[in-house]
Symmetry: C2
């Protein structure tokens, strides 16, 4: 199996300031660190972009929504979608606005969305998405009811083309701007979890599991 996604017209990164990579391991790492994917597809009157939670297994992304949701019905009908996951790392304050930018890690993929209809395969995809968003939770809650599986629309998106862009320091200013007595630097940005908040209707003094507790006060990306 190739370690890289093929470079095609669609996914070729043309901006030279950025580190571009087609390496599967890096693409997968960024996808695995994100929580929300921005999914674009075309409908009759133009493109639409929708934030969705997701999960990945090998070269396939799984997305879900209500079976009757517009997004699921539209993805089902389309033969090509684009998906982006971006992790924001910081704001780069250069010595000019022109050279100021953001540090980030970003992945864009393209593929054909397919609806998953088989209940067993749907359940497996639902588990992959659940474990991506709430690791360890799947085995703590009751089994999904058949009608819940039926009411869930699951889309699988095979990664046909993919690229990652990584923008990281140091600051690159114009040679003459380094003589300016203006401050320059980076303001880091992180996305993190806080402390668990109990639902008001817990019974038997139910406590979160150790796995769930470990998700608290942690940098996600």
């Amino acid at each position: 199996m190739s370690t890289d996604y093929e470079i095609k017209k669609t996914n070729k990164v043309k901006q030279l300031k950025l580190k571009a990579t087609y390496n599967k391991k890096i693409v997968h790492e960024i996808l695995d660190a994100g929580l929300v994917a921005y999914v674009a597809f075309s409908q009759d009157d133009g493109p639409v972009v929708v934030p969705m939670i997701y999960g990945r297994k090998n070269d396939t992304i799984f997305l879900h929504g209500a079976r009757k949701a517009r997004i699921i019905r539209l993805l089902e009908k389309t033969n090509r979608a684009s998906l982006n996951v971006t992790l924001l790392d910081g704001i780069v304050f250069a010595r000019s606005t022109f050279n100021s930018s953001m540090n980030y890690r970003s992945v864009t993929i393209f593929g054909p969305p397919k609806i998953v209809t088989d209940n067993k395969k749907k359940l497996l995809a639902m588990k992959i998405i659940s474990e991506h968003t709430m690791p360890g939770r799947w085995s703590e809650v009751r089994d999904s009811h058949l009608n819940e599986i039926k009411m869930t629309g699951v889309i699988k998106l095979k990664i046909e083309d993919a690229s990652a862009k990584i923008s990281s320091g140091p600051i690159k200013d114009e040679d003459e701007d380094y003589k300016l007595p203006v401050w320059a630097g980076i303001l880091p940005i992180t996305t993190q979890t806080g402390s668990l908040q109990d639902d008001e209707r817990l019974i038997n003094n139910a406590q979160p599991s150790e796995k769930i507790k470990r998700l608290q006060n942690k940098k996600i990306c």
Copy 2:
């Protein structure tokens, strides 16, 4: 001027679990709190989604990139784009995976992207984007050079249609699931800034301004 965006087929929110709003003030507040917009448009072989920094003035979103960047050239040629900004607030651990979800605030807009060619208007748009991302910085750095303005591609996207979705607690479980002795609750998520990191090539012991210092260790959204 209307306080709401018109409800059309394009922007009508159909999911009932969510609070949907077309109120301009709420749409603008979410746009103003975000840092990255996910912009979708159609190209020959299908839809593409690209993360971009942005700024807003009234009902117009400004986006920028290198003048020769593919995204700018493609946006210039298209007559409709969709843009989404999502602020993630938490992971909702319900008593079943079916009712588990995310808390978030999200805005989707649609409009016709137009390239801005007049240098004065471009500079104004560049200031709006800069002040959105790095408030206060514009007046601290040197003026933009004419060639920098020329090398920057600026797109204005008039908000024609817009909707906001707000998903917030409390957890809604099935009636019978409240009897289960399983923990349920919310794991809050925040995006925040850290401490400023000096560039290695500062001169004259240059310090960040008070305005920039105030951006540190703050919840963005």
